[in-house]
Amino acid sequence: MDRRDAGREEKTMHKRNMFKMAAAAAVLTLTAGTAFAQEIKIGFNGDISASPSAQSGQAGVLGLQAAIDDLNAAGGLLGRRLSLVVRDDLSQPPRSIQNMSDLIDNERVSMIIGPTNSGNALAWRHIPNQKRIPVIGFSGSATDITKPMAAGADNYMFRVSMVDRPQVAALMAYVKRNPASKVVGFMFETTGYGQGGLRDMQEIAAMHGIQPAATERFAVNDTDMTSQLNKLKAAGVDTLVVWAQGAPLGHLLRSMEKINYFPRLLTSWAADNKSFYDAAGPQLAERAIFLRTVTDERSARQQQLFDRVSPRLASTSSFPFAAHAYDGMMLYAAAVRQAGTIDGPKVREALESLQGRYDGIMKAYERPFSRTEREGLLASDFRWTHWKDGRLVNYGDDVVRSLRQEDFRM
């Protein structure tokens, strides 16, 4: 072979190699593409950075990630791996709505967990209902979030979290049953959260025939509520039911101390927040009684998850959100297995008729949802709670022990 031939041979070899490489690359892309398509995407849409409730959102992401890790370790779902797509809504409704469309239309997620704040869920719940993508709430507790868009319409909103209405029902049952509660007062914060709670309070009080002697309000940024409290004191209020977020609840207790007036205090579950404990201080914080889904007296399964996520929790009081998100994801996985597909409408139907039993972090779920029941956790799953020596512990007194199912009116 002369040099010229050798050169030609070399060129052909080169060409062949190029072709081989291109073919290999194409095959690789193709396999990567199919692997990509086979992955099931789970979305998270909620505040994880921008408001005091962001800690709850961060905990939710941790719990959700833990559930996805567990599912992937057990071989994924329908033989496909799961991946998590997180979108921060900064607590802003417009941003949250935009995230929702982005997750569903661009990322093509099959389910969404979120949001952190009730207001954002109320702003976008029409979107997953139109696009037929199941959403499981882990934090927002507003009663209306899981209501269908129209009576009898298919509903894609589910929730594994605290709900305002049964909380209020329990507090009102306490007021009704407590022989020492003779004069009742209501207080609320002038935000959507506070006003929603007030409406629930007034409606359920009316069912019991409880007539509040006074209803007072305060702003979320207020640090001194002595004027309103002095009015309640003058009206002889001995039991006060308050709907507000953590920090203002703490300031309310500090104002009570200023005028040395301490009625029996029943509050929204925001009192479990570290912001409440810090604002009120360790002694005053112990005066509030409220409901919560998990206390610091954890079950073995709860302790397991707690040990996993707590090193990365900004505040241990936000642990319930991790547990809610974990269970929400696992219930979705059970529904997908039952339906044999991730198709939205079929998974919704499966969620509404889950077979068998799932031993979750919060409880053992048996047929948690139906066409009308959207709440994974019910009033009977809530715990009476108060602060004791810096821990959230179960609260019990004669009134709590005397409560019967029929006392909970909704």
Binding site: S49, A50, S51, P52, A54, Q55, T190, E216, R217, F218, A219, V220, N221, T223, D224, M225, T226, S227, Q228, N230, K231, A234, G246, A247, G250, H251, R254, E257, K258, I259, N260, K274, S275, D278, A279, G281, A314, S315
Partner: protein
């Protein structure tokens, strides 16, 4: 019953002291540059967290979830106040150079947006550094309730009340007696004439933003033990403080202080009557004042000669 009214007065004055401090910081920039820093609330929050960081560092920790009970004891609190004042004062230079100077004196209201934008940047930076948590700040003189004829008040509320009055008096003297104060008033009156008289107008304007920043930082640390520190705490206070400044007269520092105190007391007494009227009463008052005296209760009327 008299204890109830005394309580309302004391509570009103203590909240009013916070409004007054921040209202004064609004007034300083307005009187010299005819612009306002609409991110004053973020400056207050930023100052609170700078102060809190100093308190923690001096206590040998940086754990925002566990602020030691004695974090504010001794000279730590004054050190935090001074550091926050200085640092936020420096931020004041930046907002002037970046967000105000390019737009001041030009037609349009670009500086409104640019100062709001600066505040958003400052808050976002704060969120990156300190996170969104609400942090409890111990008061330097303890958390106990001090009783005065049956009404209760906390030590830090008295501290804020007294320091607001002291700062007002000192500031008043500076503005009226010192060369700097006279220069500031000259610039406020007419930048062109002041410049012709050999006053470095830009320097005076920078000085105004620095002073405003110092006050905001100072207010942030002072208020934090009352309100608990959060990067969102400043907005609510600064809105009310701005209302107080409008009522008192934006171009009169004494009026701003008075407006702040007045607002606090009005809120407190209206709360005693019908709490739902509290916010309404504040803004009804603003409309009334502006209708009768457009420059505020104590504001000097400026007449533009054409």
């Amino acid at each position: 019953m008299s204890a109830t009214y005394l309580q309302a007065l004391l509570s009103g004055l203590s909240v009013g002291g916070i409004y007054a401090l921040i209202a004064l910081s609004f007034s300083i920039t307005f009187t010299t540059t005819k612009t306002l820093n609409f991110s004053q609330g973020e400056f207050v929050s930023f100052g609170a967290f700078v102060g809190l960081s100093v308190l923690l560092l001096l206590s040998g920790t940086f754990d925002f979830n566990a602020v030691p009970a004695d974090a504010s004891a001794g000279l730590k609190f004054p050190a935090a106040v001074v550091t926050a004042g200085v640092l936020v004062g420096v931020v004041g230079i930046f907002i002037f150079l970046l967000a105000v100077r390019p737009f001041a004196g030009k037609p349009g209201m670009s500086w409104v947006m640019s100062t709001i934008g600066f505040g958003i940047i400052l808050q976002s930076l704060g969120l990156v550094v300190w996170g969104p948590a609400v942090v409890n700040v111990p008061a330097p003189f303890g958390e106990g309730v001090i009783r005065i004829f049956g009404a209760g008040v906390r030590s830090q509320e008295l501290v804020v009340l007294v320091s607001a009055i002291v700062i007002m008096l000192v500031f008043d003297q500076i503005m009226r007696r010192s060369l700097l104060g006279k220069a500031m008033r000259a610039v406020a009156f007419s930048p062109q004439v002041a410049s012709l008289m050999g006053i470095n107008v830009t320097l005076v304007m920078v000085g105004a933003f620095v002073m405003s920043g110092v006050l905001a930082g100072f207010a942030g640390v002072m208020v934090a033990p009352i309100s608990t520190a959060s990067l969102f705490m400043g907005l609510g206070f600064s809105l009310k403080a701005f209302a107080g400044a409008i009522i008192g007269g934006l171009n009169n520092p004494r009026g701003c202080i008075f407006g702040g105190f007045m607002l606090g007391v009005i809120e407190s007494f209206v709360g005693l009557w019908h709490s739902e009227w509290r916010e309404i009463s504040v803004f009804v008052l603003i409309i009334l004042v502006l209708a009768v005296r457009p420059d505020g209760l104590f504001g000097a009327r400026t007449v533009d000669k054409v």
